[in-house]
């Protein structure tokens, strides 16, 4: 059974950058009350770039894997770039996401957008 892409299974089983920062500059939390998925994204910013990032959360494999992968995607990038980040970038990095579950995959990106506005 391999309906989930390897990258999703990998990040689900071995989440990267999971935990909390001691003194984050930006924080975004996004919750889907219908399914209970939750993602918290914490960023440390230096020279307008992401110097460090952590995520925390619980929920389905897709939302949590997407959050883990997102932390890798945004590391070192400028906040200006991240404000322009498109859904497709995360979805294609995930190897494509099944149509019925796009909402789960995009939950961490919504948390990021909240963090950037905070």
């Amino acid at each position: 059974m391999s309906p989930y892409e390897e990258v999703i299974l990998d990040h689900w089983k071995n989440p990267r950058n999971k935990g909390r920062l001691s003194d984050p500059d930006l924080v975004g939390v996004e919750v889907n009350p219908l399914c209970g998925d939750a993602v918290r994204l914490e960023l440390k910013v230096a020279d307008g770039k992401v110097a460090d990032v952590r995520f925390d959360g619980h929920g389905c494999a897709i939302s949590q894997a997407a959050a883990s992968l997102l932390t890798e995607l945004i590391q070192g990038r400028t906040l200006a770039e991240l404000r322009e980040m498109k859904d497709e970038e995360l979805l294609s990095a995930l190897g494509g996401v099944i149509q019925t579950r796009l909402n789960c995959a995009l939950l961490p990106l919504r948390a990021l957008r909240k963090a950037l506005k905070s």
Binding site: M1, S2, P3, Y4, L9, W12, L34, C35, G36, D37, G59, C60, A61, I62, I98, T100, R101, C104
Partner: protein, 406 residues
């Protein structure tokens, strides 16, 4: 005994593929599939018999009216009720809203008590919650035990002289629990309360006689019992239907109308304002005829057999957590569960890749899930067209889901 292969041939959708695999449909508690007899009956109505009811003097309208009223008689007979006690609605939700609104107009006032249960579908909580808010009444919920039954001693303590309504599910859409409606109704009646039953998960699956059940009001949907969407049934004792004011007003529900007043038609027409779901009612009658042809005891036994098989298989898997009673005799034809540490949406998505459709989510019962301490659950539900092989395929697929995501 049913000839399952022959029966399954009546359901055209069972021949389709889901994600390239033969469809294994285990979500009949959400909506059932439809046999060709129902599909053709509804289509034939539109092809050959369509006209509005209760208003035309021409033959075609007369025939449509006859079919519509025959559908009502057939539903009445199915429930052991009288035709004038059968109100056609859009579904269970509308029936429960109608009952809550009408009871609010006639029975519930400031300081009165309404009792529901922790295991209700939102459709049997929110109408009462709104009623309590409008009237300044209090809303209490009977708690559930660890075993997934209603806590009857807590219920008895809640009952008082100010209790005007007790509303409960006949069969829980999550736990599967069959509630002792008769026992509850007897106690509720002792304080003069009206007993309202959400029968959405019982009437499709087991013999239900309103005379034997002991309730005063009962609502269910056509689409969960092989019928079309958009049609439901509200049964209520005649004295209540006489007493209640109409929920919706407009065409077809009146005797006389002046600009400043009106005289309502007798029940059930009083509660069927506007053009009713005519084709859907006739389709529902075809569904009732189909189920009655097999026999509800047979339908019930088949559902119980599959539920027992599923329960047994789930219980042997240490990574599965089951909700509700363990004894299949205490259950409707459904099982809710979780794979430890996995989100139900992942389980349902992976099963779907194998052609297996189950429900995942809160099943419109958030308070119950909160009580169980989980955000959501998986639910497999069974009906007369499901086979033992399908249940076994579902169980085997769960092992693969667990291997993939654990």
């Amino acid at each position: 005994m049913m000839d399952l292969a022959k029966l399954r041939a009546d359901f055209p959708i069972l021949g389709r593929l889901e994600n390239g695999k033969p469809l294994i449909y285990l979500d009949s508690a959400a909506t059932s599939q439809k046999p060709i007899q129902v599909i053709e009956t509804e289509a034939r109505f539109y092809r050959e018999q369509n006209a509005n009811v209760r208003r035309g003097v021409y033959l075609l309208s007369h025939e449509a009216t006859e079919l519509y009223e025959a559908a009502r008689r057939m539903v009445a007979e199915f429930l052991g009720a009288r035709a004038e006690e059968i109100v056609f609605t859009r579904g269970t939700t509308e029936g429960l809203n109608l009952a809550a609104w009408a009871l609010g107009e006639t029975r519930v006032s400031l300081g009165d008590r309404i009792i529901v249960t922790e295991m209700e579908h939102h459709a049997n909580i929110l109408p009462w919650q709104e009623l309590a808010r409008r009237k300044g009444a209090e809303l209490l919920a009977v708690p559930i035990t660890e075993g997934g039954h209603l806590d009857l001693s807590a219920f008895r303590k809640m009952l008082n002289r100010r209790t005007k309504v007790v509303a409960l599910a006949h069969v829980s859409n999550v736990l599967g629990t069959i509630n002792p409606v008769g026992e509850i109704a007897e106690e509720a009646h002792r304080v003069g309360a009206v007993v309202v039953v959400d029968a959405a998960q019982s009437v499709p699956h087991m013999p239900v006689s309103v005379k034997e059940l002991g309730a005063d009001v009962l609502a269910f949907s056509g689409h969960k019992m092989l019928g079309p969407t958009g049609i439901g049934v509200l049964w209520a004792k005649s004295e209540l239907l006489e007493e209640w004011p109409p929920f919706l007003t407009g065409g077809e529900m009146i005797r006389e109308v002046w600009l400043d007043r009106a005289v309502w038609a007798d029940p059930p027409a009083k509660f069927e304002a506007g053009t009713p779901p005519i084709a859907q009612a006739i389709g529902l009658a075809a569904a009732v005829e189909y189920l009655a042809g097999i026999g509800m005891p047979t339908v019930n036994a088949h559902g119980r057999e599959l539920t027992a098989l599923a329960l047994e298989g789930l219980q042997t898997r240490s990574f599965v957590e089951i909700y509700g009673p363990r004894d299949p005799k205490e259950r409707g034809a459904l099982v809710s569960f979780n794979l430890k540490g996995l989100h139900p949406h992942d389980v349902a998505t992976l099963l779907d890749q194998e052609g297996i459709c189950i429900r995942a989510g809160h099943h419109c019962a958030q308070p119950l899930h909160r009580r169980l301490g989980i955000p959501a659950s998986c639910r497999a539900s069974f009906y007369l067209y499901n086979t033992r092989e399908e249940v076994e395929a579902f169980l085997a697929a769960l092992d693969r889901v667990w291997e993939a995501l654990r």
